[in-house]
Amino acid sequence: MSEHIIPSKIYYAIWIGLMILTVVTAAVSFVDLGPFNTIVALLIATFKALLVVLFFMHVKYTSEKLTKMVIVSSLFWLLLLLFLSLADYSTRYGHS
């Protein structure tokens, strides 16, 4: 793997971004967006996670496709667990 030495100001920029997003997500939770509160919260969290993965964990700078495969596969498997379970729960009678 190539030794990409990322300039430290990129790390600081990502750090600032993460801090801002943290404050935003906390503040937004007090605003009534109806069902969108959850979606917004998860979107912000996912964006924060992406910043950490791509920059702090160097995935943006790696030429190793296998790393991205591992990440995508693991997330996909987690979603499999969540959504196939939901296939049962969302189609039962009684509980909504």
Partner: protein, 544 residues
């Protein structure tokens, strides 16, 4: 024969160092494989002992050998020991550990110390489980269903859960080691399409181990917490859902059966071309079907829950998916058959086990399709039909593959030949004993005999007696190889480097191999299974 005599004196991984410390602190993947061999054989006996007690109780309709509570413990612990302490590690931790580096031309696995850690985790788990047995055992069924396991059982559920949790980490680390090794440590020229299909099978197995086992781990942890702190996550009287446990449990435990069968399929795919003297038919299909089994295997888990209370809609989805997962397995059976076609077949011991595997796995697999049909499942679920189905795959399939592999690679592992006559005899005894034990169980299940019951109506007795008789024959068939393998280490014929004239890098080094596997790093310039280029072996001799 003169060269063979010299081979036995040469330094190899067995005679390089002596003493217990050189074994308990080894990082040599081949020695670790033998450490695992001893340990899993020990647990095989424990699990087999429970099985014998079960079959003895079932000789008579009345519950007269043990009490009902004891019987519950017997089948629970038989299942847990056999699955977690024998089947899951068996081929990967013994044959996989030994052969993966050899087959790809590497000196060792990527992480030798983690390999040793994996064994120590297994031993720790085994000791905790043994302690659990001694302190009264567990009676929840191997499946730990809630709320019985969390709120009602009076047995050592927490201990059993912790033991299996630890064993799970052993399994995860083995899988991790294999994936990194196969990606990073292949010898020059060993491209993905030249890999033995045994390697593809272990790669697929390792993916399942990595992605599935952690879910079992967290589920068992939640059961332990619930039982210890009276939480209510799985307690229906307090808003919990017992089915949530089942979803999480089976998310791992269904793919787990593919952990148990894929390596065995890999073994069979090595044996058949060798004793048919032909290249594997459809290399890519077999390789990709291994990956397909690993992936599809994660999509079908709720077929264990058809009558548990899941919605009909999701039951239909899982039923369709369960039919789909049979397809890659069927592809393998077609490919093995096509490999045999017009081959020059010799009925050596490994080949007998491979034949047994194909027939019995096919029966087990097809009966799985019966169970995947919702209408049929309503009638035969939780009966002996299911018991027969999974034993056909796990014992008729996985264990026969394991034994076939042990015989095939025994010369490489030990430097000695096992006695071929006894090998063939034992294989036949296993085959006959197995079928006598488990075929009657298909009939029993169809007739309605429930599983996990300690007594049964008298009209089922004849079939049960047949089954028990079969189990004693099966036991003889299992003990025989243990005896003659041990015997061969002292008195067996010295093995040449390649007694079968088989293809594969492991046969290009000495039997047994040196500690670092190859005198010189191999450079691969040929395709896999190049049997058209290899000389015919001598007739596999029957002399002792």
């Amino acid at each position: 024969m003169a060269t063979a005599a010299v081979t036995a004196e040469r330094e190899n991984y067995l005679n390089k160092e002596y003493g217990i410390r050189s074994w308990l602190l080894t990082t040599d993947h081949k020695r670790i494989a033998l450490l695992y061999l001893a340990s899993i054989t020990f647990f095989f006996f424990i699990g087999g002992f429970f099985a014998l007690l079960i079959r003895l109780e079932l000789l008579t309709p009345a519950g007269d050998l043990v009490q009902a509570d004891t019987y519950n413990k017997l089948f629970s612990m038989h299942g847990q020991v056999m699955i977690f302490f024998f089947l899951i590690p068996s081929i990967p931790a013994v044959l996989g550990n030994f052969l993966v580096p050899l087959m790809i031309g590497a000196k060792d696995l990527a992480f030798p110390r983690i390999n040793l850690l994996s064994w120590y985790l297994y031993i720790t788990a085994g000791l905790v489980y043994l302690h659990c047995i001694v302190m009264g055992g567990v009676d929840t069924g191997w499946t730990f269903y809630t709320p019985f396991s969390t709120a009602f059982s009076n047995t050592k559920v927490i201990e059993a859960g912790i033991a299996i949790f630890i064993a799970g980490f052993s399994s995860i680390l083995t899988g991790l080691n294999f994936v990194v090794t196969i990606h990073r440590m292949r010898a020059p020229g060993m491209t993905w399409s030249r890999l033995p299909l045994f390697i593809w099978a272990h790669y697929a197995t390792s993916i399942i181990q990595l992605l599935g086992t952690p879910v079992l781990a967290i589920t068992l942890l939640l059961v332990v917490f619930e039982r210890a702190f009276h939480l209510g996550i799985f307690d229906p009287t307090r808003g919990g859902d017992p089915l949530l446990f089942q979803h999480l449990f089976w998310f791992y435990s269904h793919p787990a059966v593919y952990i148990m069968i894929l390596p065995s399929m890999g073994v069979v795919t090595e044996i058949i071309p060798c004793f048919a003297r032909k290249r594997v038919f459809g290399y890519s299909a077999v390789a990709l079907s291994s990956i397909a089994i690993a992936v599809f295997g994660f999509l079908v888990w709720a077929h264990h829950m058809f009558v548990a209370g899941i919605s009909l809609y999701s039951a239909m989805i899982f039923s369709i998916l369960s039919y789909m997962v049979a397809i890659p397995s069927a592809i393998k059976v077609f490919n093995w058959t096509a490999t045999l076609y017009k081959g020059s077949i010799s009925f050596s011991t490994p080949m007998l086990y491979a034949f047994g595997f194909i027939g019995l796995f096919t029966m087990g697999g097809l009966t799985g399709l019966f169970l995947a049909a919702l209408g049929i499942d309503v009638h035969v679920t939780d009966t002996y039909f299911v018991v027969a189905h999974f034993h056909y795959i796990m014992v008729g399939g996985a264990v026969m593959g394991y034994l076939g592999g042990m015989h095939f690679w025994w010369p490489k592992i030990s430097g000695r030949m096992y006695p071929e006559g006894w090998g063939r005899l034992a294989a036949l005894i296993v085959f006959l004993g197995f079928n006598l034990t488990f075929f009657p169980q298909f009939v029993l299940g169809y007739l309605g005999m429930p599983r996990r019951y300690w007594q049964y109506p008298p009209e089922f007795q004849v079939l049960n007696v047949l089954s028990t008789a079969g189990s004693t024959i099966l036991a003889v068939g299992y003990v025989l190889p243990m005896v003659y393998f041990l015997w061969s280490m002292r008195y067996g014929k010295i093995a040449p480097d390649n007694p079968w004239n088989a293809a594969g890098l492991e046969w290009k080094t000495t039997s047994p191999p040196p500690t670092f596997n190859f005198e010189e790093e191999p450079v691969v310039t040929w395709e896999a299974y190049n049997y058209d280029q290899l000389p015919e072996p001598q007739e596999v001799s029957l002399e002792r």
